[in-house]
Amino acid sequence: MAYEPSAAAERNLRLFCTKTQISLVRNVRGAVFPGSMGERAAKAFGRRLQEALLACVAAEDVTDDDDLAEMGEVCHGLSPRGERGPGYRLLKATAGDGETTVWCEVMSANHLTFSVSGTFLDFVGKTALLRAFVDALAEPLRFVSAPGLGYLTAQPTLVGTGMRIRSWMHLGGLAHFGYLNELCNAAEAKGALVELEHPENPPPGSLIILFNRFSLGGTTAEIAGHFREFLVRVSEQETEARWRLLRDEPFVFLDILTRAKAVLKAATMMGEAEALDLLSDLRLGLTTGAATARKVDPLSPQWFDDATDRVFFRRHGRALRRKLSLPHDVDTYQPWREEALRAAWMRPLAGFALSRELIERADGQ
């Protein structure tokens, strides 16, 4: 029997999926992969590729050498770049629809990674757009491929279409009930994988990264379609877990939210993990109707990105330093300075109200 997702699961996917990145990896003929080159040689090769790309596409933003590595780090925000090794962005161009931005990077393993990222859910459409962009470069750049294996890449898991879809899902409900291990097993069975640094503990903010495991046995559209289908199923499970939290454990839920409110209001220092956890609690409350937000919208997926160490200080640090006075005149390089700024930046989120329904349910329990 064909799987029919519920309308709520489809709708809620937009709430749970905070960011998606679709990448296509390609290598050019006649050169070893960057993993076998020295660092300087790889960078020099990257510059040559940048020139070749500039001859083919109209780039909006060409990154210069000095900023390459650093900007790549910031641009990806939450992505676990440590695992993939350093990469650097070559340029930013616009895809065929005139709206979508395509990033082109040199990664430590492969020559070229073309990617689009954002809060979109039309995976198939965006994949087709990205593929059209990349295919137009196939002739001038001469991508290396073989009829039986597709595109040849340094990473064995990318051989074939060279496609990787990563989705950042906020799965606070499943994490609360300790269902992440089950999710990992289900994901593996469905051809997707879940990235968990420490499987025994939920990651900060219950922000789980899911990505496709296979890139060889289907077309890019099929891979994107199957992956989205799996995300809808996950969304269904997460919806159920959140309702269970509200229905069966209102007292616990009330405790989570009141604690979050108190910490957001009173904390003078806040680390990355704590900020992400608080955002997660807040989102749980808002999406179930257990809390209502005033003034600011904590459901914006941007909050998760901005609260991370990599993005926070770069994006907000300077502005905050001007706007907010810190309690003491401290040296700029004090490690807690950033945490103090983050606590001040998060404070407006404390202005949420708890719903009467939750309080009544908790009282009843």
Binding site: N27, R29, G30, A31, V32, F33, G35, S36, M37, G38, E39, R40, A41, A44, F45, A109, R131, D135, A138, E139, L141, R142, F143, V144, S145, A146, P147, G148, L149, G150, Y151, L152, T153, A154, Q155, P156, T157, V159, G160, T161, G191, R213, F214, S215, L216, G217, G218, T219, T220, A221
Partner: protein
């Protein structure tokens, strides 16, 4: 950047040298010097396996000595049997061994796919659940198909001794190959 060995030509490739303190350093050299070091086959302490020649032959304007050693290197390369020394087979493109690929988890170059076809197929079966590409048509695949079709028809024409048809098909094949350079046939 100038070659760090001859200091005359532009550096085009990288070699590795182990310093007396045991650390590995990169050496940026021109193609002629790279070929010369290849001829010495690591006897001078320079690892020549991981050469990125970018598929280009040494420049015509390279030093005569460099060219001579380059040719010598190629001859030695032709004589060398990767399995003769009893060591593990190495990829001629990047010098990687299958053991290194397994331990690092990264394939060194497109040539590795040819050198280690069998073990890599097993690796893909393991990590991707199969080793047959069923994705979108590759750019240049149509041309490769047309070429195969022409070759088949040429073979048939030669078998039935229809030389006029064979000449026509050969010309068509040459024209197709002359226009080639596409990406569909990387390995």
């Amino acid at each position: 950047m100038k070659c760090e060995l001859c200091h005359r030509q532009d550096a085009e490739t990288v070699l590795y040298r182990t310093r007396p303190d045991g650390k590995r350093e990169e050496l940026y050299v021109c193609n002629a010097c790279a070929e010369r070091e290849r001829a010495f086959d690591e006897s001078r302490g320079i690892q020549v396996a991981a050469i990125d020649t970018d598929g280009e032959a040494p420049r015509q304007g390279g030093s005569p000595m460099g060219e001579l050693f380059g040719r010598l290197g190629k001859m030695l390369e032709g004589l060398a049997d990767p399995e003769a020394g009893g060591g593990e087979p190495r990829c001629p493109g990047c010098g990687a061994t299958m053991e290194a690929i397994r331990s690092v988890g990264l394939i060194g170059c497109p040539q590795c796919y040819k050198t280690f076809a069998k073990p890599l197929r097993a690796l893909f079966d393991d990590c991707q659940g199969g080793h047959a590409y069923k994705g979108d048509p590759l750019p240049g695949a149509e041309r490769a198909g047309a070429e195969r079709d022409l070759e088949r028809r040429l073979g048939e024409a030669l078998r039935r001794e229809d030389y006029r048809e064979a000449k026509r098909l050969r010309a068509a094949l040459d024209a197709l190959r002359g226009a080639e350079g596409g990406p569909g046939d990387g390995v």
